[in-house]
């Protein structure tokens, strides 16, 4: 259909960060200063989350209905099914705001990428990396602040471990902490980027080969629906694993 169409460039342009926002009819819209496309998407996602909870959510409702009910369902789920079971009653309740913020922030960035013209900020390691690093900080410095050096040591090294194995275990456990946080970063980034790459590849096939590749559009729609599910799933997994890791470090006896 378009013999000079560069599929590789087309996909990379869509998933990469840039200082331009490609809008139809307007052409590329240059973004000012330090603002990049993914940063802009991140701000938009944050604004939507703020709008959802500060404007749309009706706190004074005695019986929640509509959107309030829907949002409340997620909040209650995070509190009762993720935070409290994995971190205990006290820590679970105190970490619920942080986990809720993380969940809705990631979810909104994931969903934003599924809307045409918008981009997926979570398909960028520079967004998922800092989020995962915060979890790493909570796992290490958070444990240190909460349980002290002895508590951190106890969380890393089992008390029944023979002394000769301690150095080996210490290195392994520190490496394990980094891997856990790194896995959080890679999992979210890879899932969100891969989904978009697959959708764009199918759409690219249609552009390259024309109507012969018509079924590719159906496949793109199917992958889009799957991505919608993955958007929720990845936000859930990120928050769930964060709660599990923090719970393991804060309560090593379990």
């Amino acid at each position: 259909m378009f013999p000079h169409f560069n599929l590789n460039e087309y996909i990379m342009q869509h998933v990469s960060n840039s200082h331009e926002w490609h809008l139809p009819f307007w052409g590329p819209l240059p973004l000012p200063g330090i603002l990049t496309l993914h940063a802009l998407m991140m701000f938009i996602a944050a604004t939507i989350v703020l709008l959802l909870f500060l404007v749309i959510y009706r706190k004074e409702d005695r019986v929640p209905t509509g959107m309030t009910n829907c949002l409340e369902m997620f909040v209650v789920f995070i509190r009762d099914e993720i935070a409290v079971p994995n971190m205990g009653e006290k820590d679970g309740l105190s970490f619920t705001p942080m986990l809720c913020t993380t969940f809705f922030f990631i979810l909104m960035m994931n969903l934003l990428g599924l809307i045409p013209l918008f981009a997926t900020a979570t398909g960028d390691v520079n967004v998922t990396g800092p989020m995962a690093f915060l979890i790493f900080i909570l796992l290490t410095l958070g444990t240190l602040a909460r349980n002290g050096l002895k508590g951190l040591w106890h969380a890393l090294i089992p008390s029944t471990l023979p002394k000769i194995l301690i150095p080996f275990f210490l290195i392994t456990e520190i490496f394990s902490l980094m891997v856990r946080s790194g896995a959080l970063m890679i999992r979210l980034f890879a899932n969100m980027m891969a989904g978009h790459m697959v959708i764009l590849s199918f759409l690219g096939l249609f552009v390259l080969f024309g109507w012969v590749a018509c079924p590719a559009i159906l496949m793109a729609v199917f992958i889009y629906c799957l991505e919608l599910f993955v958007a929720f799933l990845q936000a859930y997994i990120f928050v769930l694993l964060s709660a599990v890791f923090i719970g393991q470090m804060y309560h090593p006896e379990h």
Partner: protein, 176 residues
């Protein structure tokens, strides 16, 4: 033959850097956005929302406990009601039985009294009847005497002294 998609290097990607290229600005912006979001939501959303949820859960829990208590009370009241109804039925039956007995007793008393009364009335009537009979007999006797005298007068055509006749008749009657 390689296609353009395979051979051409993505120029815009090169300009923008690879997808794994670190971007310190975005990294800092991510933290800033997240912490700002966390701060605002913690202050204006999560605190009131979680407090409201806790309040509602407590209210629902208390309401359910109250409902259980009320149900228990209702069940107790239902038991009491059944017991009271049964008692009332038993008492009612006892009262009815007692009333029946009393009514039978009273009716038998009334019957006895009525019989007695009737007997008395009959007796007094008999006595009165007997007295009346005696009076009627006396009157008849007087009437018979007068009639006999009148007949005798007519027959004998003799005017006799009334006193004398009466004496004669009385003497005759005594003989009778």
């Amino acid at each position: 033959m390689p296609t353009s998609a395979q051979t051409q290097v993505p120029s815009s990607a090169q300009e923008q850097g690879g997808i794994l290229t670190p971007d310190n600005t975005l990294l800092v912006l991510t933290w800033a956005t997240f912490f700002a979001l966390l701060f605002i939501l913690h202050k204006f959303a999560w605190k009131p929302i979680l407090a409201g949820l806790k309040k509602r859960e407590d209210y629902v829990r208390k309401s359910l406990e109250d409902a259980d208590k009320i149900n228990q009370q209702l069940a107790d009241i239902e038991k009491d009601k059944t017991r009271i109804l049964n008692d009332a039925k038993e008492q009612g039956n006892a009262i009815i039985e007692q009333s029946r007995k009393m009514s039978i007793e009273i009716s038998s008393k009334i019957e006895t009294a009525a019989k007695k009364n009737a007997e008395e009335i009959v007796n007094s009537a008999r006595q009165e009847l007997a007295g009346e009979r005696q009076r009627v007999i006396g009157a008849l006797k007087k009437e018979s005497v007068a009639t006999a005298v009148a007949l005798a007068e007519k027959i004998l055509k003799e005017n006799l002294d009334n006193e004398k006749n009466r004496k004669l008749i009385n003497d005759a009657m005594k003989d009778v």
